[in-house]
Amino acid sequence: MSVHPEHDTSHWKWYSWPRFFNRDECLEIGNFIDNNYVGLEDLTLGATTEGGITKKKLSSVKHINYGQIKHLISPIIDEAFYMAQNKFGYLTNGPHDRELLNFNTYSGESKDTYDWHIDESANSQEDMKLTLLINLSTEVFEGGDFETWVYDKQIQPSLAIHGSCFMFKSHIPHRVLPVTKGTRKSLTFWITGPRFR
């Protein structure tokens, strides 16, 4: 039997889950992180250009362990690992309880933004394979479009809707355009695995 064309996922670059969480769930997850986060990122240490210009201008980045929050997000993490292994064909690590997720708050008042970057592991024994973004915004915001670059620069409108999730290959350049009004909140989980070879 031949492979059905739509079953050939070898060219996939990303996958999206529109409105995976409802507004109440977004609120619950956001509140839980606000009350339980284990650390705050020093935003002076974020990704920079070789000229030292900061690419990441956010109001706050809160860290939380997967073990603390899995009771709220394990359904999407399960989904993401299924896709990572069965559709992207990747070998993966975890998910381990001690993995850290980033909860990013982009404020319209300070025109928060995250310029073009790629996601890479600092650990030589693993590669970041896929980046999973969860839009946990609970209020209306303007700007803050998420854009990817594969041949063309392309806004990903599916992630703009609260509760939506978007997963893409971590080496793909991506950015968040300035938020111009309201607040945009997103939670990031990185699917890692043994080094690509």
Partner: protein
């Protein structure tokens, strides 16, 4: 203990400055001009999401590795060593049937190759590393090679004829328009089992 300079896990490129002499560049170019198997690379060329080709090059000639290996095998050997031992990649080949692209960028038509990545149309392999050889034999202007990994970076060392540059094919790269003279480059793709 691993010495700092032996940790190659963050390598993003490898360069062989002026690997070929001007005489060798000429010999290679002449050999390809007399022995190429086809011209133009048709449907396999990189395209944007609208299906427009990103490559505006006057002349692309294909040649098999079999035909040309007597002139480039020491380099290819070295590149596979770096691919396996330094980048840690599993590879296929090099096989005689693999095709190399010999690109001629003419200033008359301001030839260029816009931002693109190198990908295999074959679902059983990934293109892992792209090896570029600058085989230009006359002076040219423009035609700078740029990569985009963390930011846009111009690779000045590769502009010197005879230089060879290798980088992971999944990162964007481009050739700016050639404004005078002719720029010639030969490309070899190092493939392997799919990244997983």
């Amino acid at each position: 203990m691993i010495r700092q300079d032996h940790d190659t896990s963050d390598w993003k490129y490898y360069i062989w400055p002026k690997y070929f002499t001007p005489e060798q560049c000429k010999e290679l170019g002449d050999f390809i001009d007399s022995n190429y198997i086809s011209s133009g690379d048709g449907d396999y060329t990189a395209r944007n999401n609208k299906g427009e080709p990103l490559k505006a090059i006057s002349n692309v000639k294909s040649i098999s590795y079999e035909a040309i290996k007597h002139l480039i095998s020491p380099l290819i050997n070295n590149a596979f060593y770096i691919a396996n031992n330094k980048f840690g990649y599993l590879t296929f080949g090099p096989y005689d049937v693999e095709q190399l692209n010999f690109n001629t960028y003419s200033s008359d038509s301001h030839d260029q190759y816009r931002w693109h990545i190198d990908e295999s149309p074959n679902s059983q392999e990934d293109i892992k590393l792209t090896l570029l050889m600058n085989l230009s034999t006359e002076e040219y202007e423009g035609g700078e090679f740029e990569t985009y990994i963390y930011e846009k970076k111009r690779i000045d060392e590769f502009s010197q004829p005879g230089s060879v540059y290798m980088f992971p094919s999944k990162f964007h790269h481009r050739v700016l328009p050639v404004t005078s003279g002719t720029r010639k480059s030969l490309t070899f793709f190092i493939t392997g089992p799919r990244f997983r």
